[in-house]
């Protein structure tokens, strides 16, 4: 049942011996396979030198240096904002999740390539993908087909709206799922027009995490029974339960909740208050009268706080415009970190708004060793965001730098699939095996061959 153990540095990590065929793109699915790879699974990204999926190895395959010099960090997060010889090995948006994974290339849109990919499925445990609904079927990689080559395979499929229902074939990016789930209308400034609402991407994280849980659930079941299965993860259905209070308020009380900005539905004060410096803020939340007294004391028991309109939670909630002004007058004189420590010592939840620089400098995050130093042959040496959790017996780590396109072809073809040197050379000539995207691919999509 278990695949043969591959040579790896994974040691005693819990998922050593589990092989994953990874056909994930962009962020949601790639987040899923990142967690499995971090915990020891042999995750093999199946890539294609003749087809570059949208927004995966960078926002485009071959950006120019001049484009990278003008764009924001999401688009232009390349070492020193230089595209380099193979930009698709240098994009932060890809490299951030590609640690501990392997990369092979094969043109699975041609029969020979599909046959090779199926041979890999035949020696794997999990198959994970988050392409547009129907893509896998079109290629010939439906669950039914996978089962023929590996009867106990677990397939985790993550279409936006799921594998059934009237919207299953709709086109949507992660942020559109936030719209349908109701999240976008729930999180604006209270009185502002929704066209001012900045897009967010929580649904990618939600779907990626749920799919990883789903994969583990299916592995657990297979460990016990020997049976594989198909898992349908409708990305949108992963975020709706996370908005459960709003859903229940509607189904219980018929109430459609409206945006409350940074405020709390029932407690006050709760807000982001300005501090010394440019665009520096402190988040403060007070949930009880006891915490309110602690806050007042930490602020030096100002006379305005004695007012009856702030004496209990309900009064504070009704008078929070005025309350917020008083607190902001106090925080504005101080540093954000100074306010956090002062209020935390008093027992009040407070935390600074942390930008990227703050995260790397923060003493707690440093002491926990969250960031890990990684050297990548085409990117140099940098600190990377590390493990999502810590385990006492089998702590994970970034054992292997982000995989370059086709970097592990030799291992996968020769060691795992038993391909001969002659056949390997032939597959190289035929454009299956390679470490470069076909020169005709500039943005994304299929090569002109």
């Amino acid at each position: 049942m278990m695949s043969e153990r591959p040579p790896s540095a994974a040691g005693n990590l819990p998922l050593v011996g589990i092989r994953v065929v990874d056909m994930t793109v962009v962020w949601a699915g790639t987040f899923t396979t990142m967690m499995l790879a971090d915990m020891g699974a042999e995750v093999i990204r199946v890539e294609n030198t003749r087809f570059a999926p949208y927004g995966t190895r960078g926002i485009m395959v071959r950006p120019t240096d001049s484009l990278l010099s003008t764009r924001g960090m999401a688009t232009a997060g390349y070492p020193d904002r230089k595209a380099g010889e193979r930009p698709y090995n240098r994009a932060a948006m890809f490299n951030v999740h590609a640690r501990n994974k392997l990369s092979m290339t094969v043109d699975y849109m041609r029969p020979k390539g599909l046959e090779i990919l199926k041979r890999l499925v035949g020696i794997s445990d999990l198959f994970i993908e988050n392409n547009a609904y129907g893509t896998m079927n079109k290629i010939g990689l439906s669950y039914e087909e996978l089962k023929k080559v590996k009867p106990d395979i677990i397939m985790v499929s993550m279409p936006a709206f799921g594998s059934s229902g009237p919207y299953s074939d709709r086109i949507a990016l992660g942020r559109h799922l936030e719209c349908i789930a109701g999240h976008t209308l729930l999180r604006g400034y209270p009185e502002a027009d929704p066209t001012w609402t900045t897009e967010v991407y929580h649904c990618d994280a939600a779907a990626g995490a749920v799919a990883a849980f789903a994969a583990m659930l299916a592995l657990h079941y297979r460990q016990r029974t020997g049976k594989g299965q198909f898992v349908d993860v409708a990305q949108i259905e992963t975020i709706i339960p996370q908005l459960g209070e709003a859903v229940m308020d509607y189904t219980m009380n018929g109430r459609v909740q409206e945006p409350i900005g940074n405020r709390h539905p029932s407690a006050a004060p709760c807000g982001l208050y300005p501090c010394q410096g440019d665009d520096r803020w402190i988040a403060i939340t007070v949930c009880s009268d006891k915490e309110w007294q602690a806050l007042c004391h930490a602020m030096g028991d100002p006379s305005w706080a004695d007012d009856g309109k702030f004496s209990d939670t309900l009064s504070r909630w009704h008078n929070q415009d005025e309350l917020d002004r008083h607190i902001a007058d106090w925080t504005r004189q101080r540093q954000d970190y100074e306010v956090m420590h002062l209020l935390q010592e008093a027992g009040v939840a407070a935390g600074p708004l942390m930008d990227e620089r703050d995260c790397y400098a923060d003493p707690h995050i440093r002491e926990r060793g969250f960031f890990e130093q990684v050297t990548h042959v085409e990117c140099g040496s940098h600190l990377y965001p590390g493990m999502l959790w810590k385990m006492s017996r089998t702590p994970g780590s970034i054992r292997r730098p982000p995989c370059r396109l086709g970097e592990h072809n030799e291992y996968v073809y020769k060691q795992l699939l038993g391909v001969s040197d002659e056949e390997y050379a032939e597959l190289e000539r035929d454009g299956h095996i390679g470490m470069e995207y076909h020169p005709s691919i500039v943005v994304h999509g299929r090569a002109a061959v």
Binding site: D204, A206, A209, Q229, G351, E356
Partner: protein, 409 residues
Amino acid sequence: MTESALSDVRVLDLTWYIAGPYCTKLLADYGAEVIKVERPGQGDPARSIGPFLDDEPDIEKSGLFLHLNTNKRSITLNVKSHAGKKILRKLVEQVDIVVESFSPRVMPSLGLDYSTLQKANPSLVLTSISNFGQTGPYRNYRLSELALNAMGTSMKMVGQPDRAPLKLGGNVLQYQAGVLAATATMIALFGSRLTGTGQHVDVSLLETCLGSMDRRAPYLLAHQYTGQKEITTRVGGSRGGIMSGCPEGIYPCKDGYFDVAGGVPWWPRNFALLGSPPELAGPEFGTAEGQMDTQCQHAILAVLYPWAMNRTKTEIWEAAKSARAALAPLYTTEDLVNDPHFRERGFFVEIEHPRTGRLTYPGAPFRPSETPAKTPRAAPLLGEHNVEIYCSLGYSREDLARLRDAGAI
């Protein structure tokens, strides 16, 4: 008859509020037997957080609590009493997993640190969910959903430049930490079943955000790659995102709003969406320069606004289907719950509860073909399973009365 994936898994649930209970809800909904330990009297504090049915505060009528605790059983126990500690140790010996979300100093103070627990049960997985993790200078600090947004996410990018940045909706980050804790727990359990040895899983809410692919982690790495000088900030509106172009972001329509993805790759579809108007047929509209050019943008918007204001969000959503445009209407919760897609998939589920009657809940977040989520059983009443569980541990009903009098249960 279908099977449950986790029917062989027993969980002792020492969590409260949102993250921990969502973690154990996922385990319970897919078949694990979850025993939820609550404080006598008030129980899980989430029972006292709204929304409440008919807005009447009642520990058995909190929508938040009801949603988060389906398929669990509840016992009350004063874990600080001597009898309570003894009972807790008995329970630990019988389970595969303990999940707790106390402040890090609590479990050791109860004599329940991992090394002690593991002596009693070597294969035990202990998952500790805390604000900042079990170690480090902030380990005893408090956290709110808002402070977690501020410290953990790219909140600085969200909102208008001249106003305070905005958090995400509701309590989504605490839920998200719950999903990740459940994943980590299952991974540790998988290892424990192979080797017979459990371990302690330390989940920090802050770290679940910092490592998240909601863009926080990509931006953190981009900051390193670009020389540690640049930070992300607010540019305002819905059009400052990744693929600037036109149309891009949120626009009004006849009865609400919709969000459309723009930029070069999407222009041919957006052009089709607008009915292929001849005034936008020029090649300049499909180039990166044209997409960013003010005159071109004005020409596009001059078509888009009247087109949108004459259509409902549902009509626009349908038009996007034929044009293959990446677009969605902005739904209210009402739109969502009544939507035909989720009805056809049977996503929302009705659950009967002795105090609230039948209510509609969000359903299971994924569908395994062989081991689907269980038919949901309502969240337990406070201490509903005291007799059942304590008697199975060997206590008589008379003992239970004595324990109750002593304030232990």
